[in-house]
Symmetry: C2
Subunit: 115 residues, 2 copies
């Protein structure tokens, strides 16, 4: 478990959830892994914009927090697969609703500038 998850006084459990799931990439990774198990390189390719360094860090934190599992296959070339734990899969409804909310938000609040 990461340090710092329990040492801040939380006003509500929403803060606890956001402490674990906040940041730009965490829930996007969960979104990907809800579809299927992914290798490191697959995630890197499919999530455009993330650097290997950030992907590694986010995956490690999600692993420490018990959201994903990391499976290392000792082969040549190496193969590492990431999947969701039960705790991670329990986010399916929330991730789905957030995806829907974000889509309708963009529909209702289109970007002003065209360039």
């Amino acid at each position: 478990m990461r340090k710092g998850l329990h040492d801040k006084p939380a006003n509500c459990m929403v803060e606890v959830a956001m402490e674990i799931l906040g940041g730009r990439w965490k829930l996007a990774i969960v979104y990907k892994l809800l579809q299927r198990t992914h290798r490191f390189g697959e995630l890197h390719r499919e999530m455009r914009g993330i650097t290997p360094r950030m992907l590694t860090r986010q995956l490690r934190e999600l692993e420490e927090d018990g959201i994903i599992a990391r499976m290392v296959h000792r082969e040549v070339p190496p193969r590492v697969e990431y999947s969701l734990t039960d705790t991670g899969r329990s986010l399916e409804t929330i991730v789905g609703l957030l995806d829907t909310w974000g889509r309708s938000y963009l529909d209702d609040h289109p970007a002003v500038q065209a360039g």
Copy 2:
């Protein structure tokens, strides 16, 4: 609308949602305002740990993003009330699920250290 909401290529709408709702305080504020309209001082007192400066910044961003409404009553002493917009209220289910998820996460992953 805040700058930067639409200029990052998003892999999924979950990223859009987190761009608006991410951070330590945003959804906690929405959680409070789901209960009822709050004045600035009420939010400040009830959300222990937040500084006036941060509370102001988070409220302004939520207002820019169309999540909350700011109502200034021209009285002495001044009174400012914050409430949710329709868009903000549309987060009710998600916030409720996140609250439940956070609670059960803490139940399943208790802090190791007692102090």
